[in-house]
Amino acid sequence: MSTMTASRVQGGIFTLMVVRIGDVHDPAFGRDLEEQVARSPGFFAGAPVVIDLRDCVDCTSVADFTALKQVLRRHGMVLVGVQNANPVQLRAASAVDLAAFNGGQANGNRRAAPERPVSDSAASAASASRTRLISQPVRSGTQIYARGGDLVVTASVSAGAEIIADGYIHVYGALRGRAIAGAAGDMSARIFAQRFEAELVSIAGRYLVNDAIAPEHLNQAAQVALIDDRLVILPGWGRG
């Protein structure tokens, strides 16, 4: 079992614990849970909890979820929702009033605020925020520049495509092309990608090509920041 804190920003900030569960029918399950709780009982008292069902296939019925709720309750936790549930699990979970949360990252890192609803217009520049939202895949050979603001892409950026922003870049999909943030020189700009496979990343003129990126940072969520004049790749949404 691993724990994970995820924060959602929506008029307020609240922290949820995520309990990743395996086989719920395994007697070891309750024991493991008990051990974890025993280590820091105060931490878990009354805590709202989301269960991550990524590794759990046998928890499929309303009865399973009711039992799970009771087990967690016994250890002082309040089950509020599920994550990474398959459709069958989702149906059973919603029957016992559990909310469905968007899937987080496998490595137990933090996750940023939820994605914004996808806008229909592919190239609309939000006049108020100067943030540009792209909801279509950015194809090879395409170049997109968010002048004077951030760029949010709610799809994948293909190899051979180039996305540029004077501010931050967020890609809620695979980033396979080039991403250039802080194009006007903003050294605090960052690049976030849900799946980081970039050909090249650059912030305020400093750049890294794919070849120079450690393989362990690739093919997973990552952010790129300029720290002490060096480009640093941070796995997931971790604090940097």
Binding site: R139, G141, S158, G160
Partner: protein
């Protein structure tokens, strides 16, 4: 209302002309009046694949220039009712595809035909841009290898920005991915990208998988669209793809290695 379909890929040699011929034949066999146009000016191939190379008098460029009318240039297929071939010129180059001339020809064809299939040349230059300009739907022909996938990605981007529908801000061109020359054996060995890999990269709905097959080469050499060969796996796969294109549900075949003989079949299944 006529529907214009461009068969395109960016990369050359992936099977655009074979696909254009198969699609045109498949749609005509289903009773739709269909014409297939060769946009590959200077590298005329469609007439060969359709087996009508010895009947070409006037071509697409003649009609664009007003030297001949449509009826003089269209070649009626001898095997399939409702199927017409519109060959191109071998002696001219792509610059002969003048915008207003092509517009006029397309408008005229739209009055007469249910489907107009545009066999695009490779590349992303004038020839390919002209071929895709009028498209209502695109069949993006892709081989399971990285360079082909990247070129397809590029052409999908161009469809979304340079087609008539994009210019006029109409409903975007319908996109269909057709994976050709697919060899499940080689996918298993890791020598080719899998269907899932390609779908993930391109994020375009999959219309069909055409297995790598010797019958394709034989068919194009003898001038017979492969879809007319019921003994050919590729022909059957094209038939499925055409059926899906017109809205039928068909199981996606040819994703797994072919079973050769009884024993191999059992081993194959046990392994999968």
């Amino acid at each position: 209302m006529a529907k214009v379909i461009v068969v395109t890929s960016g990369k050359g040699g992936v099977g655009k002309t074979t696909t254009s011929a198969a699609f045109a034949a498949g749609l005509a066999l289903r009773g739709h009046k269909t014409v297939v146009i060769d946009f590959d000016v200077g590298l005329r191939n469609l007439d060969l694949v359709m087996g009508c190379e010895r009947r070409v008098v006037f071509d697409f460029i003649n009609v664009i220039n007003g030297d001949a009318n449509l009826n003089q240039a269209l070649i009626r297929d001898k095997r399939i009712d409702n199927l017409y071939i519109f060959p191109t010129s071998q002696t001219r180059d792509k610059e002969a595809l003048k915008r207003d001339g092509v517009d006029r020809v397309m408008a005229e064809l739209k009055k007469d035909f249910d489907y107009i299939i545009c066999d695009s040349p490779a590349g992303i230059e004038h020839g390919a841009l002209t071929a895709l300009y009028h498209a209502d739907a695109a069949v993006i022909v892709t081989n399971p290898e990285v360079s082909s996938v990247r070129d397809s990605d590029r052409i999908i981007g161009i469809l979304a920005s340079k087609s008539r529908r994009a210019e006029k801000r109409e409903k975007p061109v319908e996109e269909h991915l057709l994976l050709t020359r697919y060899s499940p054996d080689r996918v298993q060995k890791g020598e080719m990208l899998s269907v899932e890999d390609v779908k993930e990269i391109l994020s375009v709905p999959l219309l069909g998988i055409i297995p790598e097959s010797e019958t394709v080469l034989k068919a194009s050499n003898t001038g017979m669209p492969v879809i007319l060969d019921p003994g050919s796996p590729a022909g059957r796969a094209y038939e499925d793809a055409v059926a899906r294109f017109v809205g039928e549900q068909r199981e996606m075949r040819f994703q797994l290695p072919e079973r050769r003989g009884f024993l191999r079949g059992w081993f194959g299944r046990a392994a999968s």
